[in-house]
């Protein structure tokens, strides 16, 4: 638990920068130590090894990447606390305050800072950077596919773009809502002073940060030619860039485990007095279920990647049929993570929109219990459906029927999410601000994603659709159309609390329409191409698919323009936007009861909750 006092900043001791090592460490020292560790490990391991043997190359590269990660964390001061514990001490109160970023201004964003609000902003900026990079790669993919026979990029570059776009976006989407809002907003929403484990909170961000250069290094090591699924034995065959993928996933899994444990513990143990479970804001419920689902899911992916690393470094053959292994082992491990991961991404975005809808319709959230049942039902079923991704793999065809049943049944709790949102809208007069527009966009996008998911879960239809562009369109409707739309809605909603300024309204509207119209054009084209029989992940295609692909590319450019507009609106508003009042939307959750900048420990007096936050509306009798 946090040990920070509730005393106002003016009466707290000022950390003395001269006396403690912790005050001298920051991102720059992390980079220096990380690079030294990386290159030191590289040269030390390379010495005396036969580097014409790919196993040795993989060993050296993987260990260098992990050394970078550990070195950076040492250099930024992540292990000072644990080291003090080893020698029977702890950080002093002054050092803890320094670590919380007290009085450090913008510098705290570049330090190992334990303040959950700083971590939330770090996640927000990190996510935006990742979405920018992933989106740029998407534009390159769509440019290459604008016409058949295009040679905008080579097939090797194209395959790497597909893989890097996929993994960058998946990582970004996993943290897009729980990272910024789960860290910045959620503790305030439940009336807590900080997260349960502030140092782990900082560690989760900086561990994730170290994965970014590792993933970027793939470009310089020959790329990731396997797509983000990294199926074996293609991954065994892949070049040195594959090591970057493996290391990224292992590092990311550590980060998500830390974040998951922290968020769940915080919500369970640190809610304000009077905040019973039926008074917890629905975003908090959604974020908690999401990270609870991630806790068992990502270690499975980590295990899959460790085995990939072992195949690639010491020739274990887990996935190599030539020595008794099986690619199906990898596929199972991957999808045991992969399908829950879809809901890890989706649920927080939907929950954010459920938080938004009552505020802007000025009505209570319709059937709070149905919303929880929907989230819990989805989370529960999602761990029983993974093999629907493997209907056509040839692995256990006799299980296709049972997995079809469990998969189809997910549509029942999913339906509850729609009911909650349209039930909240019913007879309402919605205040048409940008956050509320996102709710409408979500309903359309997720409806399309949901219905097309029913076809794909049906084995006979999947016979035709599996591996086609239709699948690509479907999951973009759920991940981008639903989850990212939810996160953008959440950003528009909580932007005033996170930055103290209102998001530029006109810029937001322009962005919204460019993105949503472009998105639907883009993926309508992809649905058509998939129905016509175009496989996914192809660098080139037959003339038969030309019109559909051109439509998709036009839509993609519209999305690109919209996203750039949103970026401009965010930057412009953050720097010089209209000053936001404390509660611009008239909402009833606790985060709107604190001023901006939010005090270090959030509340001068711990709040007491006496009702749920959805007490809007006039009563009917």
């Amino acid at each position: 638990m946090t040990t920070l006092s509730h005393a106002p900043a003016s009466s707290r001791p000022i950390p003395n920068p001269e006396k403690s090592l912790i005050t001298k460490l920051h991102m720059g020292t992390g980079l220096v130590v990380g690079i030294i560790f990386c290159w030191g490990t590289y040269f030390a391991m390379k010495a005396g090894r036969d580097m014409t043997d790919t196993h040795n190359v993989n060993k050296v590269l993987l260990m260098s990447m992990f050394a970078w990660s550990v070195g950076f964390l040492i250099g930024i001061g992540a292990f000072i606390g644990p080291f003090r514990w080893l020698i029977g001490k702890d950080l002093t109160a002054e050092e803890q305050l320094f670590m919380a970023g007290d009085g450090q201004g913008i510098k705290r964003y570049f330090r190992y800072c334990t303040d959950h609000k700083v971590v939330g902003i770090q996640y927000l900026v990190g996510v935006m950077a990742m979405l920018g990079v992933g989106g740029t790669m998407a534009m390159m993919i769509r440019t290459n596919l604008a016409t058949p026979g295009s040679h905008f990029v080579t097939p090797n570059v194209y395959n790497s773009l597909v893989g890097l776009h996929g993994i960058t976006m998946i990582v970004a989407m996993i943290i897009v809502a729980t990272g910024p809002f789960g860290n910045y907003i959620m503790p305030i929403m439940i009336g807590a002073a900080d997260m349960a484990f502030p140092r782990l909170n900082a560690l989760s961000w900086w561990v994730l940060f170290t994965a970014i250069p590792v993933l970027c290094s793939a470009w310089f090591l020959g790329g990731i030619p396997t797509g983000w699924t990294a199926y074996a034995p293609l991954s065994d065959q892949a070049g040195p860039g594959m090591n970057a993928f493996v290391a990224t996933i292992i590092i990311f899994a550590v980060s998500t485990a830390l974040a998951g444990a922290n968020i769940t513990t915080t919500v369970v143990t640190m809610r304000a007095k009077g905040m019973k479970w039926n008074r917890v804001p629905i975003f908090v419920i959604g974020a908690t279920i999401s990270v609870a689902l991630a806790i068992p899911a990502f270690p499975t992916f980590m295990v899959a990647m460790i085995q990939t690393a072992m195949d690639r470094t010491i020739a274990t053959g887990f996935y190599d049929a030539n020595v008794g292994g099986s690619g199906w082992l990898y596929a199972n491990l991957f999808w045991i993570m992969g399908h829950p991961e879809v809901y890890v991404i989706l649920i927080p975005g939907v929950a954010a929109l459920m938080e938004i809808a009552p505020v802007f319709v000025r009505k209570p959230l319709f059937s709070y219990n149905a919303a929880i049942a929907g989230f819990a039902g989805i989370a529960g079923l999602s761990i029983l459906v993974w093999a629907h991704h493997m209907y056509m793999a040839g692995w256990m065809p006799s299980l296709n029927g049972p997995f079809m049943v469990t998969t189809e049944f997910i549509s029942v709790p999913t339906g509850l999410l729609f009911l909650v949102l349209v039930g909240t809208m019913w007879r309402g007069k919605p205040w048409m601000k940008l956050p509320m527009l996102s709710v409408y966009a979500f309903i359309w996008d997720f409806l399309i994603g949901g219905i097309t998911g029913i076809y794909l879960s049906d084995v006979p239809a999947d016979n035709y659709l599996h591996g086609s562009m239709y699948v690509t369109a479907h999951f973009h409707y759920t991940l981008m159309g639903a989850a990212l739309t939810g996160a953008i809605g959440g950003l528009a909603y909580w932007f005033p609390k996170m930055t103290g300024r209102m998001l530029h309204e006109r810029g937001g509207y322009i962005s919204f329409w460019f993105v949503q119209i472009g998105f639907n054009v883009l993926f309508l084209g992809m649905f058509i191409a998939g129905s016509e029989g175009q496989p996914r992940r192809v660098a080139d295609y037959a003339h038969l698919f030309a019109h559909a692909n051109l439509i998709s590319t036009i839509g993609a450019y519209s999305v690109g323009i919209g996203m750039l507009t949103l970026l401009w609106a965010i930057v412009h508003s953050w720097r010089s936007g209209k000053i936001a009042p404390m509660n611009p939307w008239g909402a009833k959750t606790l985060e709107w009861t604190v001023p901006y900048p939010v005090p270090l420990v959030n509340f001068d007096t711990p709040p007491v909750v006496t009702s749920d936050p959805y007490g809007y509306g006039r009563s009917a009798k």
């Binding site: 097939p155 395959n159 396997t226 034995p233 293609l234 065959q237 049929a321 099986s326 690619g327 319709v361 000025r362 009505k363 209570p364 059937s367 149905a370 056509m392 040839g394 029927g401 079809m404 189809e408 049944f409 549509s411 029942v412 339906g415 509850l416 349209v422 039930g423 019913w426 007879r427 309402g428 007069k429 919605p430 205040w431 048409m432 409408y440 409806l447 029913i454 076809y455 049906d458 084995v459 006979p460 239809a461 016979n463 035709y464 599996h466 591996g467 129905s531 016509e532 029989g533 496989p535 996914r536 295609y541 037959a542 008239g586 809007y616 509306g617 006039r618 009563s619 009917a620 009798k621």
Partner: protein
Amino acid sequence: MSNNEHEVLPPTPGARVATFLKRKDVSQTFWLWIFFTAVFVVLGLWAYPKWMPPVLSKQMQANEDIMIWFTVISAPIAGVVLSIATKSFLNMHRGDTPPEEGVAIRTNGPVVIVWTATSVLFCIVAIVWGLVALNTESIAAATDAPKSLIVDVTGAQWAWSFYYPAQNIHTHTMNIPVDQPVTFNIISDDVNHSFWPVQLGVKVDANRLVTTVAHADPSATGPLDIKCAELCGLYHAYMETSGAVQTPADFASWVSSIQATGGVEQ
């Protein structure tokens, strides 16, 4: 309107239903529901047959039927969601201050039950449809086996090759006769591929050292596009070949022409 103002509801359930149905917003939502349901029905009946390639097998027919009829069956449910959302959207409030408070409907038990029951019913229809189709296919594959044409399919980076054991021919295109079941035995020489004769509507992965099986019942003649549906490396996009579902006479002629050149297609 303040929180203290109340909406007065009729005293009996019957009167409440009658009042409900007479409300203008309800009738508007109803017409929107008709509109959206019709749009989805038309989409299902028109779009998929137009977009999907010619049906050359019973399996492809089953696929297309599911695409069409699942869209049609889901149309009324999608219509409910979209009609309420659209009605709400059209009722928007603009300005810098929040709108007046709406009716405080916390939940509605019958609505939640009916909605959930409808979802379950739709789900059961989809499941039963799928299981019946799956079972039909399994039975057909078993009963057709003795009379099936066998084609051994090998995927290798980045080409398909075919061997017809009964005819003892090796080919790089794949022709099959109409109205005779076909069993494909599929394997990979290297990484995973996915064998996809598009117009037949079947698809199975080709795995290293493991043979997977697919079954098709060609029902009409026409050209076939054979693609790889699993990312398999550098030239995945170009791992495709062609073929045809032919009349038995044309197929026999094609086989003979290859046997005449030593059993290997030139």
